[in-house]
C-alpha cells in the first residue's frame, strides 16, 4: 500500500495504490494535511490503482474534504471503478464529492 503524491500545475494529485482502509487511512490523512499546512488548496485523489475502500477510508475523505473546504480549497476524486462508485452511491457520498471519470477530467477547471 502506498500513496504517490505528484503535482499537476497547482493541483496536488494523490494516487492510492492498494486499499484505503482502517489500517492506513491515517497515512493518507497526514499526507494531505501536511500539504494543506504548506499552503496547498487543490487536491485530486485518484483511485485508478485502488482495490477497495472501507468506511474508515470514506470517513477520512469526508473529513479531509471538509477541512480543505474550510481553507477555501477543494478535494476531488477521480477514476473510481464500478465497485468504488457503488460505495459512494450507497453512502450518498457521491453528493458530497465531485467525482471525475478520469484523472484528466478531474483536473479540468480546477
Amino acid at each position: 500500500m502506498a500513496f504517490q503524491v505528484n503535482r499537476e500545475g497547482d493541483v496536488v494529485v494523490i494516487d492510492v495504490d492498494g486499499q484505503l482502509i482502517v489500517g492506513n487511512r491515517q497515512e493518507l490523512k497526514q499526507t494531505i494535511l501536511d500539504q494543506v499546512e504548506s499552503g496547498e488548496r487543490k487536491f485530486l485523489v485518484d483511485f485508478t490503482h485502488t482495490g477497495y475502500i472501507d468506511s474508515s477510508g470514506l470517513g477520512v475523505l469526508v473529513s479531509l474534504s471538509k477541512k480543505i473546504r474550510e481553507q477555501g480549497g477543494e478535494l476531488r476524486l477521480s477514476t473510481l471503478n464500478e465497485d468504488l462508485r457503488t460505495l459512494f452511491e450507497l453512502t450518498k457520498l457521491d453528493t458530497l464529492f465531485r467525482i471525475a471519470d478520469s484523472r484528466e477530467e478531474g483536473l479540468k477547471g480546477f
Partner: protein, 146 residues
C-alpha cells in the same frame, strides 16, 4: 468443496488487510471468485474486524478477535467475535441522513448490511455474523454479466 477456517487475531488494525486477503484467498480456491467475494465480502469483513477491534475491544492490545469462516456450497458465512461488552444497535444513526452525511464515522454497519445477504448480531452484541451467497458460476469479468 466445503471449507472451514478458525483463527484468532491480535487486536491490531494492521492485521486486518492480511486477514481479509487470507480468507478471500482460501475461499477463492474453492469457488469462482466473483465480484461479491472480491468486493462485497472484502469490505464487509474489513468492517466487522475493525468494529471488533475499535469498538468491541476498545483498542485494547491485550484482547483478541476470533474469526470463524465456513464455506458450504456457495454460502460463505463469517463470524467475528470480540471480547467486549457489546453495543446497542438501535443507537446507530443513518449515515445517509443529511445531518450525518459529513460525519467521518458511522458507515460500517450500514455498509455491511448493504453489501452482505444477511448480517446479524448475537444478543450481547459482541459477535457479528456475515452471510454471502456466491453465485455458482458468477463471471469474473463484469462486462460479461451485463
Amino acid at each position: 468443496m466445503d471449507r472451514e477456517l478458525v483463527f484468532e487475531l491480535p487486536n491490531d488494525l494492521q492485521c486486518i488487510e492480511e486477514a481479509v486477503e487470507f480468507v478471500v484467498g482460501r475461499c477463492a480456491t474453492c469457488e469462482e471468485t466473483g465480484r461479491k467475494l472480491r468486493f462485497n465480502f472484502r469490505v464487509s469483513f474489513t468492517e466487522a474486524l475493525a468494529n471488533a477491534m475499535i469498538y468491541g475491544n476498545g483498542r485494547d492490545p491485550s484482547k483478541r478477535v476470533r474469526v470463524e469462516v465456513a464455506l458450504r456450497g456457495s454460502a460463505l458465512k463469517a463470524r467475528v467475535i470480540d471480547q467486549g461488552h457489546g453495543f446497542d444497535r438501535a443507537t446507530v444513526p443513518d449515515p445517509t441522513a443529511p445531518e450525518n452525511i459529513e460525519c467521518p464515522g458511522g458507515r460500517g454497519i450500514f455498509l455491511m448490511r448493504k453489501l452482505m445477504d444477511e448480517v446479524y448480531f448475537n444478543e450481547r452484541g459482541n459477535a457479528v455474523t456475515l452471510i454471502l451467497r456466491l453465485p455458482e458460476t458468477e463471471p469474473i469479468r463484469r462486462e460479461a454479466s451485463a
